[in-house]
Symmetry: C2
Subunit: 263 residues, 2 copies
């Protein structure tokens, strides 16, 4: 590869919505204003894939020319690739040098609160943090393919500038969620809202008389009165920024747990 200049930062852009998602091009376009950009994204949508990675199976890389591609940006897809696969394949088999930043998204849909656990968008950003690359996932609270990203463009651009100036601490990436259909009132750093999905599954009968289930959950906010969560700030029209750790050890639980379990 010789399309990039070592004098400019290199940005790896990925997502979980697939190589042709409009949100990917928005992020690539904003990064291309100040960096060389390589997009490596799943061939097909990979929502809800968390940090899943492909073991013991073949991965194929394709150069792509998706509709809406940003001029000067190289695009690659990974067949059957999860977001984490895309990051790993990009780092070890595609990019010409180590990326300076990794941006994932802009996701078509929320990744606030507990969703960070299931999000493929954030799986990619967390993988960037594991690799020591300053990383952030961006998500717009709107599922449609025709979602309007324009209202928050200047905010995303300013956030990129701030991430360049002050990257997240090692082992930490950013989970950035953007309210839909409004010009954001500002940006607030906060904790991820605790919660869970419930209401479970809806049962159907297939044409051959066999039952199948479809996920029909609804998010339950377990801190509805808190004013320091991403759910709260999003409800107030702000962009939320949650620092997310790739070290899942519950350090505050360590001493007490040790007392009970060591023998």
């Amino acid at each position: 590869m010789n399309h990039t200049s070592p004098d400019r930062p290199l940005v790896l852009v990925t997502n979980d919505d697939c190589i042709s998602a409009p949100g990917l091009h928005v992020l690539a376009g904003l990064a291309a204003e100040w960096a060389d950009v390589v997009c490596v994204a799943p061939k097909r949508p990979q929502s809800g894939k968390s940090s899943a990675l492909t073991v013991n199976d073949a991965l194929r890389v394709n150069e792509e020319h998706p509709a809406g591609a940003v001029p000067g940006v190289k695009y690659y897809s990974v067949d059957n690739g999860t977001p984490v696969d895309c990051v790993k394949v990009a780092l070890y088999s595609i990019v010409p040098r180590r990326p300076d930043f990794l941006f994932s998204g802009i996701n078509h849909g929320s990744n606030s609160g507990t969703n960070v656990l299931y999000s493929g968008t954030m799986g990619a950003a967390i993988e960037g943090a594991v690799e020591g690359i300053p990383s952030a996932g961006f998500s717009l609270l709107h599922h449609s393919w025709e979602a309007d990203f324009s209202l928050s463009l200047s905010f995303v651009s300013e956030l990129m500038k701030r991430i360049r100036a002050t990257p997240p601490a090692p082992g930490v990436c950013l989970n950035i969620n953007i309210p839909a259909r409004v010009v954001p009132r500002g940006v607030r750093t906060c904790r991820g809202c605790p919660g869970r999905w419930n209401e479970g599954y809806q049962a159907y009968t297939d044409p051959f008389g066999h039952e199948f289930l479809m996920l029909a959950g609804r998010f339950v906010n377990e801190a509805p009165d808190a004013t320091d969560t991403d759910e709260y700030w999003l409800s107030q029209g702000y962009i939320s920024v949650v620092p997310v750790t790739c070290d899942m050890t519950a350090r505050e639980a360590l001493p007490g747990t040790a007392a009970h379990f060591d023998f």
Copy 2:
């Protein structure tokens, strides 16, 4: 379902290796000594699936009678189900009452250190913690289907007893790894070892002349001199217990991050 007694604890057992994995029966057998047990596990192996869940696709549940089944234990598989799918389907569509405990494993292979991010075994345990159920994932450092679980049976049994007496704090589950081929020297609670996989991918050419990649990574321990990590204690012949949080907010990073990103 009427095969369980409300007077006994109910334990949900799952894994990522699939419904017929020997490690699943080991865990179910030990739990059945003191509890009613329901196993809900993937139909096919789901290693590396993290907290991935199935959205917008059909899930089918099958009652199973796998070889090696523990007498009195009910078994169900979920077609194409990830470990998180199995937990959700179990809770919302299978079990007769809320489980008192969730145990995942015993995995055929390590889930120490950074592997917790990618592990389907731990994805299931984390999902249990999200649901407020005391949960633990168990993994033996041996990939073979014929792995010998017998050397650590009394330890796993004692750990279950201690989990019953003192469940993990809300939002916390346990990542328990067991050394292979030795009688463990004991149990040590500790932090997960920081690290990452590198060395990337090996390239092949398929019979039609197209290139494909296979993951060929090797774990790089980023704290090789630390004596407070799971990698360290496992290397010393101990079982490691890491408390794992399902809240990924990097709280120590919050104040500094807020200063840079709020506007």
